[in-house]
Structures are given as structure tokens and as C-alpha cells.
């Protein structure tokens, strides 16, 4: 603008000097000063016009005309405030909702990870012959790390909740255990102190940890001198050596990182315990890395194929691995909101089409006065741009609040939510969306409105093209398309809703009412004295909790359904004790009392024994391994089908008892009695002593109500307490949770002040397990309802407009003897045709598109006939209702007035 003003002044001066020189020439030729000036001025012509034309040459013609167009637009909009407000609000809704969803999509799926060259960072898995991706087993990991040619580094890592004390208060925190290459791969360095040094990264080294910036601020008081800070992590005292940069929480929102090398390395090739993280070498593609690592996997398979089912390797970019699960869901939401925008735009189209017909006379006059068609088209474009601008600005404001609401409602399983915000890329998206919408609408309307013949429009007195039958047909088509798109959205929402209902009606195998859960992260207990202590700790906890008023049952497990879930599963074997050699029995006894960590010979023998028995697949199976107490089954109402639950007979040194789930019993011993059978499941906890099946309990859906129950073997916490690292106590009580919590908290603190409990009610856990489903349904449902509202308004608008335009025709019909019902039928017929066309197209579209949401449905087909029929019926009904008012209005036409109309 400033440049423009300067150019303007320049030009003014130039023209003035031109004038002076021309006048001077005339004076030189003898004219009087006054005559000379007048003549020169006349010769120059209209200085203002010259300036304007020149400026146009200078700045490109569009700018001045654009301003003119915009001024004109504002006049037009002020003449039709209602239509303008409706259009702007519709765009606000569409653009706002799209922008809000896009900010989530961008933050979660698109935004680059905050690491150097993030595209080089990959997750690596072993892949079994069934195509299952598995974590690394230590010896395989070592082979991959040492033999690959495609990676700069390969690291093992794992994470889990541990009790961490030593800060201002004990906390249950996510603790990551990471191998040497981990931080070099991410290229993350501590902002304070130092990283892990090679001398920290060997077995038996003095424990050290790094902590998150947040933990350091909040629980270590932001101390500058780390040398005095010690944390008690998993009952191990560790020096804090470094503080990681703010915001760094990988993996799984960790707060504490410890060297993986402090943990023991298992020689088993099928103990898949570690996640893999790598960084591609410069210039190496994902595909090359896959080829390279798969070749190593094949070599391992050739050499050790008997001991491990490993056939190839999977390599995926870290970002994809982090967000793979939520990707389809977010894209579904984006598609849904795009549909909503489409429906909204259709409304604006019809509105503008109607307006254009009202302005036909004016357009014809402008065309007759020499406005070119491009000029008129540009005029419409300016209008839609202005509409989109207002809609976009309001939409971004709406999106800002929408994002806050989304973040508040989002289920916790969506990763990277902290990265979601209305930021520059999101704003660019919104701006781009506005332009696309404006251009699409503008071109459509302009081409329609200026297609007509100027003369006929003038002759017909403004009842030409835009209001004519062709235009009415177009309006009908737009309304039908709107209905079709709405139908797709409604079907999507309907399918999600039905899935939620199905999920809610599933019997999970346990009850959730009146149960308080108490989660504890306990230190590991693999040595015999630790096992005894653990058994006593839990028993004492149960005893004390049971004494609280109103308590009906108290129990516990290391794998609370829907909450902690099963952490261990693997191959078990059914053995017959009489067939075991004395050496084997001796080994079993040693495994019960020895420590694998301190006795590599025992470890080797144990793995040799297990590999031996697993090779005979006739008496092996795959099961979840769960540690539980008898009260757990009673509290959760998991039914006992045969035999007995654990009881006081199953003391620490008594023969080890096991309960099996119904489905395992059926699969392993079809038609036979499982009671008394002996199971070897020592690969789960290092205790090779055989388990005797004492009872069969009902199946439990532990992962989620939507996943079928898995075969499960339960062991007794009194006999196998080593698996109770994560331990959930369940308290069944008639009293209100609030009355029990403070007491329960006190009891835990008295027993072990370093173990901070976290409480919940099982009802809440259950509800939360369906949050993702509710969230999707809520959003898609919301979009569908909004689209339905817009579509109703759309079809109502088209019919009303059509009736208004045909007042004269209706009048003639009635004057010629048509009855009110004839006329009403005429309008309703139009509505029915429109609605049927929309529904037919919509059904086909839904049929094609809902396939993509297969993975989000539960227990229902993507072509669920009930949903389709109900939605189609609903739309037809709604369309007819929307048509009723205009139809009635048509019958109220007074023939005399109608004929005089216009």
C-alpha cells in the first residue's frame, strides 16, 4: 500500500511536469499564459483517468478492480443480510470443524517428530512365520545389531510403571530401560549433567538414571547439583546423572531412564522382551534396511530355527509405529468432517443460486453495459472469497475452542496429543480450505448465473436462466447430493453406534459394580527371601483391607482386565511327573530356590530343559499367565466351573496349584477332566516346579470386551509371588469408595511408604475402556446430525424457492380446476423424487465407503441391513417433512393474486 501511494505521487508529479512543459512550449510559440495552460490541460485529457489506467498497468489490473469488486460485494451482502449470515455461519461450522479435526490429524499424524532427521528413526521387530511382529529376544537382537549394514545404531528398550522414591514424594512412574544406542539414535542429549557412559552400561555397574525435565522440576526441586540426588527405582538406589530436555518423554511418556545393561541378558532366542529402535544410515532407504535385516533373520532361522519362530524382520518409521493404530480412526473423522463441509457448501450453493436468479436483471444490465463475462465471474468469485474469508476467520476461532473440547474428550490412547494445537500449518490448511471452497462455489455460481442469454433475461424481466426449470433441476440435484452425503454420514454414525451397543452388551466374564481397584508397582522379587516377603506383604495387605467396614471381598492379580491387562504369555507344557528323570526333578528344585540372575549355569540348564519339552508340540499350548488370589475370583464374580479355587491348603511350600480358564480346559483336554493334570509353565517366572490344576474358572475378556477371551492359566500369589511386579488389588464393598480410599491409602503407606498406590473404581475402568468407541461415535454422530440439519434446511430451501418461483404456474393450475391436493401432490412429488434419488445414491456411496471403517466396527457387518434401512427411512421421512410446509404454501395460492404476480 505504501509503495502504491509513492507511485501515485510520482505519477502525479510526472504529469504535472508534462503539463508545465506543454504549456511552456505554447507560450514559447506566442500563446498567452492562460490559454497555453488551458490548452495543455485539455490536450492532456483526464489526468485522474490517466493515473488510474497507468496504475493498473503498474500493479496489474486486478488490484484496483478487486477493491471495486469487494466494495460491490459488501453492498450486495448488506442487501441480503439473512442469506449472508446463514452462508457465513454454515461456512464457520464447516471450516471450523474441519480445521479442528485437521489440527488433531496434523499434530498426531503429520507433524515431524521433534528429533534430528526424524525420518531416519525406525522401529524394528522380529516377524514370525505367522506374520506376527514380535519384540526382540536378546541373542537375536545382538545378531541384528552386530551384523546389519543399514543402521547407524540399534537399541533395545522397554518401559513399565515402577515405584520411584527419593524425590519429594514416592510416585508410580513410567520408567524406560534403554540400551547403549538409544540416546545416540534419537540424538537427544541431557540439558543438565551427563548421559550414560560406557562404564554405566554393563552388568553389575553402579545404577544410574536420567530423569525428565518435568520430574526434575517437580519432584527434585530443580536442583542444580545432581551429585547428591539418589532415587530409589524398583528397590535399587540409583544416582541421577542427567536431566533430559523439556518435552522429551519417549517412550510411553517416561519420567525416568535407566541403562538396559543393568538387567540380565536372557540367552533364550524365543524370549521376546525388548522393543527395537534403530536409525537408518544416511542414504539408506527403508526398503534396503528391510532387505538387510530380513537377511539376518533368515540366517538366524537357518541356524536356530528349532528354538525360535523367526523368519523375517519388520522395519517401520517411528512416527508410523507410534500412530499406526489411530491413523484409520483419525482419517475417518477427517473424512466425516469433510462430508459435513460438503453438505454445508451445497446449502450455500443453493442459496446463492436463488440469489443469482433474483439478481438476473441486474446482471443482464451490467452485461449489456459492457461488463465482460470474465468480469462478472470475477465479481462472483470476489463474493464467495469474501464469504469464505468471514467464514474462515470465524471458523478458526471456532476451531480453537473445538480443539480444546476435543483434547478434553479425547481418549488417552491417542499418542502425541500434546502436539495438537491451532498452529501455523493448521492455519495454512484453513486458509487453503477457504480458497478452495470460495473458488469452487464462485466458479460454479458464476458459470451458472452468466450462462444465460442477456437479451432473454432482459425480455423476461428477470425470470430467465437462474429461476427457470433448468436451474430448479440443478437445485434439486444439489439437494439430492446433499441427502446422499448426509446418508453416508448417518450410516457411518449408525454403524459406530450399533457397534458400541454390541460392545456394551457383551458379557466380559466379570462384574464391575462396587469394586475399587488399587494399583501398585512393587519391586521385583525373584530371590527366595524376596518372594517370601512379597507373599507376606500381599497377604497382610489383604488382611488389613478386609477389616475395613463394608468390605465384602478383597483379592488381587497382576493382570487386571481392561486395566493392566496380561503382561506375560507363552508356551506351557502338560507333563506327567512319573516320566521325569531324577535330574529333571533336581533341576526343578534348584530353580525354586536358586537365582537365575546370579547362576548362569542354572539359567542355561533351565533354557535347555524348556527348549527340549517345547519341541514336542503334542502336549504344549499357548496361554496367558496370570498371578491371582482366591478373593480375586470372588470379588469380580468370575465363576468357578469345576474343582476349587485357591485356598489355605496352597501355602508357600505346598505343591503349586493352578486354575485354568474354561476355554483352555476345552482346548487342552476336550471331554476329559482337567483336574489333577500337571503343567510346566516355568518360562514365565523361572520356577520350573509343576503346577497342578485344581479348578476351572470362567473365561474373561481381559484385553477389552471386544477381544475374545484367551486361554489363561492362573497361579497363586502365595506360591508364585515373583510375577507380582504390577499388582492390582480389587476391593468389593457396599460402602462408598470415598469412605474406603483414605483408609486403604493409610494401610498401604504403613506397609510400605515407598509404594504409592493409585485408586480407581472398576466401573470407571470399564467405561474408559470404551472411551475410544464413544469418542468416535460422538464426533461422527455430531457431524452426521449437523449434516442432517443442513440437508433438511437445504431441501426445504430448494422446495420453498421452487414453489415461490412457480406461484404463477400454481395459480394457473388452480384457476383451471386443479385441487389443493393436486397442487400439494405436485410439490411432494418433487420432494419424493429428490429424496429417493439422494437416498439411492447415498446407499450406494455408503456401501462403497463404509468398507473403510471395517476395523472400527465390532460384531456388526459394514452392510448391516438394519442400519441402512433405518437411515434411509429416516432421511425419506425428514425430506417429506421438510417438503410439507412449502407444499401447503403452494395450496394457499390465490389464483387471482398469483396471476397478477409479477
Amino acid at each position: 500500500m505504501i509503495v502504491r501511494r509513492k507511485q501515485d505521487k510520482d505519477l502525479e508529479e510526472e504529469l504535472q511536469s508534462h503539463l508545465r512543459m506543454a504549456a511552456q512550449d505554447r507560450i514559447d510559440r506566442g500563446e498567452s499564459a492562460q490559454d497555453a495552460e488551458t490548452a495543455a490541460r485539455r490536450e492532456l485529457g483526464n489526468a485522474g483517468l490517466i493515473k488510474e489506467v497507468t496504475m493498473e498497468a503498474l500493479s496489474g489490473a486486478w488490484f484496483g478492480r478487486l477493491l471495486q469488486d469487494l466494495r460491490y460485494c459488501i453492498r450486495v451482502m448488506r442487501r441480503n443480510p439473512g442469506a449472508t449470515v446463514v452462508s457465513v455461519l454454515t461456512l464457520t461450522l464447516g471450516i471450523g470443524a474441519s480445521t479442528a479435526i485437521f489440527s488433531v490429524v496434523y499434530g498426531v499424524l503429520l507433524r515431524p517428530l521433534p528429533y534430528e532427521k526424524p525420518e531416519q528413526i525406525v522401529r524394528v521387530w522380529e516377524v514370525s512365520s505367522k506374520g506376527t511382529q514380535m519384540q526382540f529376544a536378546d541373542p537375536n537382537f545382538a545378531d541384528f545389531r552386530d551384523q546389519n549394514h543399514s543402521l547407524q545404531g540399534l537399541a533395545e528398550f522397554a518401559s513399565g510403571l515402577l515405584s520411584v522414591s527419593g524425590g519429594s514424594e514416592p510416585k508410580r512412574l513410567m520408567v524406560a530401560t534403554v540400551s547403549a544406542d538409544f540416546f545416540p539414535i534419537l540424538r537427544v542429549k541431557p540439558v543438565m549433567g551427563r548421559g550414560f557412559a560406557p562404564e554405566d552400561q554393563r552388568f553389575g555397574a553402579a545404577p544410574v538414571v536420567m530423569v525428565s525435565y518435568n520430574y526434575w522440576k517437580q519432584y527434585l526441586g530443580g536442583v542444580k547439583d545432581l551429585s547428591t540426588v539418589k532415587l530409589n527405582v524398583d528397590n535399587r538406589s540409583a544416582s541421577v546423572v542427567g536431566v533430559l530436555p523439556p518435552g522429551f518423554r519417549f517412550p510411553d511418556e517416561s519420567e525416568v531412564w535407566e541403562p538396559r545393561e543393568l538387567e540380565m541378558t536372557l540367552p533364550a532366542r524365543d524370549a521376546h522382551n525388548w522393543q527395537g529402535l534403530g536409525r537408518l544410515r544416511d542414504g539408506v532407504t527403508l526398503e534396503q534396511a528391510r532387505t538387510d535385516l530380513s537377511a539376518i533373520a533368515r540366517q538366524i532361522n537357518q541356524r536356530y530355527g528349532r528354538d525360535v519362530d523367526l523368519v523375517t524382520a519388520a522395519v517401520f518409521p517411528l512416527r508410523e509405529a507410534l500412530t499406526g493404530d489411530v491413523r484409520p480412526r483419525l482419517l475417518l473423522l477427517l473424512a466425516a468432517v469433510g462430508f459435513l463441509l460438503l453438505v454445508g457448501c451445497a446449502n450455500i450453493m443453493n442459496l446463492m443460486l436463488a440469489q443469482a436468479s433474483a439478481r438476473e436483471g441486474e446482471l443482464a444490465v451490467r452485461a449489456a453495459l459492457g461488463a465482460s463475462r470474465p468480469r462478472l465471474i470475477r465479481q462472483f468469485l470476489a463474493e464467495t472469497l469474501l464469504l469464505a474469508f468471514f467464514g474462515g476467520v470465524l471458523g478458526v476461532v471456532a476451531a480453537y475452542f473445538g480443539v480444546q473440547a476435543l483434547l478434553a474428550a479425547a481418549p488417552p490412547d491417542i499418542p502425541r496429543l500434546s502436539d495438537v494445537a491451532v498452529n501455523v500449518p493448521v492455519l495454512l490448511f484453513a486458509a487453503g480450505l477457504c480458497v478452495v471452497v470460495a473458488v469452487a462455489l464462485g466458479v460454479f455460481i458464476a458459470v451458472r448465473a452468466t450462462a444465460g442469454d442477456v437479451r432473454s433475461a432482459l425480455v423476461e424481466g428477470g425470470r430467465g436462466q437462474a429461476g427457470g426449470p433448468a436451474s430448479r433441476r440443478l437445485g434439486g440435484i444439489i439437494a439430492a447430493v446433499q441427502l446422499a452425503v448426509t446418508l453416508v454420514l448417518l450410516v457411518g454414525a449408525g454403524l459406530l453406534g450399533r457397534s458400541l451397543l454390541r460392545a456394551l452388551s457383551v458379557d466380559p466374564g466379570f462384574r464391575t459394580e462396587h469394586i475399587i481397584t488399587l494399583n501398585l508397582a512393587l519391586p521385583s522379587a525373584f530371590q527366595e527371601d524376596q518372594k517370601v516377603q512379597r507373599e507376606q506383604f500381599i497377604s497382610e495387605l489383604f488382611t488389613r483391607l478386609r477389616r475395613l467396614p463394608g468390605i465384602e471381598d478383597v483379592g488381587g492379580t497382576n493382570a487386571l482386565p481392561l486395566e493392566t491387562g496380561v503382561t506375560s504369555n507363552g508356551t506351557y507344557a502338560v507333563l506327567i511327573p512319573q516320566q521325569l528323570s531324577p535330574a529333571t526333578r533336581a533341576l526343578m528344585d534348584r530353580s525354586a530356590h536358586g537365582s537365575l540372575e546370579k547362576d548362569p549355569v542354572l539359567m542355561k540348564e533351565l533354557i535347555g530343559f524348556l527348549e527340549g519339552i517345547y519341541r514336542d508340540s503334542t502336549h504344549t499350548g499357548y496361554a496367558d499367565y496370570v498371578v491371582a488370589s482366591e478373593g480375586y475370583f470372588r470379588a469380580l464374580g468370575i465363576p468357578l466351573r469345576r474343582g476349587r479355587l485357591f485356598d489355605d491348603r496352597d501355602a508357600f511350600d505346598a505343591p503349586h496349584a493352578a486354575l485354568v480358564s474354561e476355554s483352555l480346559a476345552h482346548a487342552q483336554w476336550p471331554g476329559q477332566d482337567p483336574i489333577g493334570r500337571m503343567i510346566e509353565f516355568g518360562n514365565m517366572d523361572g520356577d520350573l516346579r509343576l503346577l497342578t490344576v485344581v479348578g476351572v474358572v470362567g473365561d474373561v475378556r481381559e484385553r477389552s470386551v471386544e477381544h475374545p477371551p484367551r486361554p489363561t492359566i492362573y497361579v497363586n500369589y502365595r506360591q508364585r509371588p515373583q510375577g507380582t511386579h504390577q499388582f492390582s488389588v480389587v476391593i468389593r464393598s457396599s460402602a462408598a469408595p470415598d469412605a474406603i480410599l483414605p483408609e486403604a491409602r493409610k494401610i498401604v503407606r504403613e506397609l510400605d511408604a515407598n509404594v504409592p498406590p493409585s485408586f480407581n473404581t472398576f466401573d470407571r475402568v470399564f467405561a474408559a475402556s470404551l472411551n475410544t468407541r464413544r469418542f468416535n461415535l460422538m464426533l461422527v454422530g455430531l457431524f452426521a446430525v449437523a449434516a442432517l440439519g443442513l440437508a433438511i434446511a437445504g431441501i426445504y430451501g430448494v422446495l420453498s424457492y421452487s414453489v415461490a418461483r412457480r406461484t404463477r404456474e400454481m395459480g394457473v393450475r388452480m384457476a383451471l380446476g386443479a385441487s389443493a391436493s393436486n397442487v400439494r401432490g405436485l410439490v411432494l412429488k418433487q420432494a419424493v423424487i429428490t429424496a429417493l434419488a439422494g437416498v439411492a445414491v447415498g446407499l450406494a456411496g455408503a456401501f462403497a465407503l463404509t468398507r473403510m471403517m471395517q476395523s472400527m466396527l465390532f460384531d456388526i457387518s459394514v452392510i448391516d441391513p438394519l442400519t441402512y434401512a433405518a437411515v434411509a427411512f429416516l432421511l425419506l421421512l425428514v425430506a417429506l417433512m421438510a417438503a410439507y410446509v412449502p407444499a401447503r404454501r403452494a395450496t394457499k395460492v390465490d389464483p387471482i393474486i398469483a396471476l397478477r404476480h409479477e
Binding site: L11, E14, S17, H18, I50
Partner: protein
């Protein structure tokens, strides 16, 4: 409008020739807008009159194309004037336009004064 009479003994400039005339005029040295219009008028024996309404847009357009450049100077009679001069690109453009004009002339000549027999066909 009184202006119309004066147009009668004037030949309308062929479209696109104004640029050529301006460039050609500037070939003889820097000149201001008024000077250019006078030079064109005089050199054409008063036949071609450049309308100021066409001249200034053309000058600015040419400047935008970087074929001519301009700066403010103080003239002999102490007045600030805006002088236009030909740039290197402008010289090249002038050569192109001249040769195109030459082609046009020859083509026109060929049609208006045919030398061959084809004209009878």
C-alpha cells in the same frame, strides 16, 4: 467532447506499435514523457499523435518489463523531470520489434502490391 475533432486528421496508431515508437525514440538518448510525445509527433510529420492516456501507461508498462528505466533529474530550466532511458534488455527488445515490424511491412507490401501471379488466383 471537443477532443474528438482533433482525432480526425490523425492516423490511429496500430496496436502494439506505440511500444516500438517509444523504444525507438529513446534510442537517441534519455527523454521525458512530454519529450517523447513531441518527438513522435515531430518525427512523423505531425501525423502520429500519442495520446497521453496511452503514453504514460505504456511507459510504466515498459519500465515494469525492464526495457526502459527512469530517474528524476533537474532540467536546464531548473525543473524536476522524470527521464526515461533504454536498458540493455530494451535495446534487444527494440531490435526484435524492429525486425517484426519489417516483416509486417514486407507482408503488407506483398499483399497490397503483388509482384507475382498468385494474386489472380
Amino acid at each position: 467532447m471537443p477532443k474528438t475533432e482533433r482525432y480526425q486528421n490523425r492516423i490511429e496508431l496500430l496496436q502494439g506499435t506505440l511500444d516500438l515508437l517509444i523504444l525507438e525514440t529513446l534510442r537517441w538518448g534519455p527523454q521525458h514523457g512530454y519529450g517523447i510525445s513531441q518527438a513522435i509527433r515531430l518525427n512523423s510529420g505531425e501525423v502520429l499523435q500519442v495520446d497521453t492516456g496511452s503514453l504514460y501507461p505504456a511507459l510504466h508498462r515498459l519500465e515494469k518489463q525492464k526495457w526502459i528505466s527512469s530517474d528524476w533529474k533537474v532540467s536546464e530550466n531548473k525543473q524536476r523531470v522524470k527521464l526515461y532511458r533504454l536498458t540493455a534488455a530494451g535495446k534487444k527488445q527494440l531490435a526484435t520489434e524492429r525486425s517484426r515490424w519489417q516483416q509486417l511491412l514486407e507482408a503488407m507490401g506483398g499483399i497490397l502490391e503483388p509482384k507475382g501471379k498468385e494474386s489472380e488466383a
